[in-house]
């Protein structure tokens, strides 16, 4: 029973990780840039949600309607101003640039809102529902449903729409896509915008259940890497599966070993995957 219980909550949390991971993998797929500021984008989503809630009383789950376009615009801005200038630079310089951007984001937020922990408590923050004998946290369940819906919509967008296909073509072969008339620069802007929007959405969805503070992003950046490497860099389905697996591993090791060590298990798993199957569990590496 303990096993099923923690597996279930792990999978629910994993949905959010999947969202963060999908954004990271999308950016990587289209531009071959690893975004080390990804967790900080999530953090900004959290703060947006927090202030929308405390200042105008907008429910955190509703706030994604505002968070998504704002974060998309922010991501597009980052891409146009900074990232596109280093697309042909050494990978280490790309990494350092995004690390720098992350430092700017988290420390600006710290200056403006201080480093105090903030808690967004709603009427349902600690509510739970019974599901087949298992108790499920209400905010987790709602966020999982929203995550699933957004992931589904994203799949539809990437597979069915022209723009989605152009994005996938760019991810598959940048030069070929360019030759076929795809505006790869615009695809980069869209990919970064989408990535930021997904990270921000994840931030909004977890804000009722997490402490909100400026440095929260770092842990999520690392976790997003783990998710993405686990599923295979550049693979969106891989990131989805990877997110759920990481959520489950975390939750299980927290209930069977120690909650302080759950991240340790995640990183060890990460190293093992890197070394034993660097192309990810779902195979097919492009590097």
């Amino acid at each position: 029973m303990v096993f099923l219980q923690s597996l279930l909550s792990g999978v629910l949390v994993g949905g959010t990780y999947a969202l963060v991971g999908i954004g990271l993998t999308l950016i990587f797929g289209v531009m071959r840039v690893i975004n080390f500021a990804h967790g900080d984008l999530l953090m900004i989503g959290m703060y947006l949600t927090f202030y929308l809630f405390t200042l105008s009383g907008i429910d955190p789950f509703l706030s994604i309607v505002i968070v998504i376009p704002l974060m998309f615009a922010f991501g597009a801005f980052l891409q146009r101003t900074f990232i596109h200038r280093v697309l042909n630079a050494l990978p280490q310089n790309q990494i350092l640039l995004t690390i720098g951007l992350g430092l700017i984001m988290s420390n600006t937020v710290m200056l403006v809102f201080t480093s105090d922990y903030k808690i967004l408590s709603t009427s349902y923050s600690s509510g739970s529902v019974q599901l087949a004998g298992l108790s499920v946290s209400e905010p987790l369940l709602v966020s999982f449903v929203i995550t699933a819906a957004i992931t589904g919509a994203l799949y539809w967008f990437l597979i069915k729409t022209d723009m989605g296909q152009a994005i996938r073509a760019t991810a598959q072969d940048r030069e070929a896509a360019q030759l076929m008339g795809v505006n790869v620069r615009r695809m980069g802007v869209i990919a970064f915008g989408l990535g930021a929007a997904l990270a921000g959405t994840a931030g909004a969805l977890i804000s009722p259940t997490y402490y909100i503070f400026p440095q929260v992003g770092g842990a999520f950046t690392l976790k997003a890497f783990v998710v993405v490497v686990l599923g295979g860099m550049g693979s969106i389905i891989g990131a989805t599966v990877g997110g759920v697996i990481i959520g489950a591993v975390e939750s299980l090791s927290a209930s069977y070993v120690s909650s302080g060590l759950k991240d340790l298990f995640v990183y060890v798993l990460f190293l093992l995957v890197l070394l034993l199957k660097p192309s990810g569990l779902l195979g097919k590496s492009r590097m």
Binding site: L97, G100, G260, L275
Partner: protein, 367 residues
């Protein structure tokens, strides 16, 4: 800051070097202000960190963003031995260094199979694992409480007390000696077979491999040298500050700082980390001492009495990480070869107008 301009005069830079060394050795005799000594010690520490990372990241091109692991290991082992086992630090530091090198070789043998961003990610994960161990193994490391050093026993040689570590002066000289050593090591690397092999690996691993260079062997040598001095700098930091916890010696920010020192100054050069330290340390000290907001008030951009002014005064002191971030972004976008490379380019551009050979990227070169 001395740029390698006077290549023609062998004597001039040598004289300058000599004068510099004498000045640095004499500094504590002339200046007794503890804050001035403190800033100098921070400068030395930063130079040591930068030069240590430079061996692996600068010359060999292996961008470790996990050097906090070796820094933290050096600090923790030295302080734990001293505090819990009464092992004097001048013995303990060797145990710490040997342990760090051993750990480095194990980690290196595993992670050096990975290339590019995968290696970066693995190095971060390794450092995080160390941080989590230090944080959670409370009975062994004191966990989040950290280790507060009571006192360092006086150093005696042959019954004579050399120093009792009460003032900052012994730390000044220890830092100076260690900084000089790491600089010498970088010089030695650059002027030996190792340096050639490291740089060949940085430029093209497959080509290096085909020219008879064993990649795992030479990458591990670079990492071992780097970890050796990184652990030493960690021990130095712990002994000087007298307090360590997982949040100060093992977080990702520390790893980023190692990279930053080099990237700001210029990667893969001996002077780069020194320049980086000369930029970073005064900057973060100026922020801490509120010099920057005072300057803004003096120039008259912002008035001290306005709410913005009050806000700046309260907060700019904590903004050094923000400034770091801005610096990184500016350096990567506008001077990817660091301050040193940028200055060099400016200078050589002015001195001779002869066009250089056209830069052909290696991708487009072959048919």
């Amino acid at each position: 800051m001395r740029l390698p301009l006077a290549r023609g005069f062998a004597l001039a830079p040598l004289l300058a070097l000599g004068t510099g060394v004498v000045a640095l050795v004499a500094f504590p005799l002339a200046v007794t202000n503890p804050y001035a000594l403190h800033v100098m010690i921070l400068l030395f520490l930063t130079v040591i960190q930068g030069e240590s990372w430079n061996v692996l990241g600068g010359y060999t091109g292996q961008y470790s963003v996990g050097h906090a692991a070796y820094f933290g290991l050096g600090a923790y082992v030295t302080l734990m031995l001293l505090q819990f086992r009464q092992v004097p630090p001048w013995w303990g530091v060797w145990i710490a260094i040997l342990l760090a090198v051993a750990v480095a070789i194990v980690i290196g043998s595993i992670t050096f199979r990975l290339r590019g961003p995968y290696f970066v990610l693995a190095s971060i994960a390794v450092a995080e694992i160390f941080r989590l161990i230090a944080l959670n193994w409370t009975g062994f490391t004191n966990g989040a409480e950290g280790i507060l050093l009571n006192e360092i026993p006086p150093l005696r040689i042959g019954g004579r007390t050399i120093t009792d570590f009460v003032s900052k002066v012994p730390f000044y000289y220890a830092g100076l000696a260690l900084a000089a050593t790491t600089i010498a090591v970088n010089w030695g690397v650059q002027h030996s077979k190792l340096g050639y092999y490291f740089q060949a690996i940085r430029e093209d691993q497959d080509a290096a491999h085909s020219l008879g260079i064993s990649l795992p062997v030479y990458k591990n040598i670079a990492l071992a040298i780097s970890a050796f001095f990184t652990a030493w700098s960690g021990a130095f930091y712990g002994l000087y500050v007298g307090f360590i916890d997982p949040g100060t010696v093992l977080p990702v920010e520390v790893s980023v700082q190692f990279v930053l020192i080099c990237i700001i100054g210029g990667i893969g050069t001996i002077a780069g980390p020194m320049v980086g330290a000369l930029v970073l340390v005064p900057l973060s000290e100026a922020l801490r001492a509120n010099l920057l907001s005072d300057l803004l008030f003096k120039i008259g951009i912002v008035s001290e009495d306005t709410p913005t002014g009050a806000f700046l005064k309260d907060n700019l002191a904590h903004a050094h990480a923000l400034i770091y971030g801005i610096l990184v972004v500016l350096v990567i976008l506008f001077m990817p070869d660091g301050v040193l490379g940028f200055a060099k380019k400016l200078f050589s551009g002015r001195r001779r107008q002869t066009p250089a050979l056209p830069e052909v990227s290696s991708e487009k070169g072959s048919a």
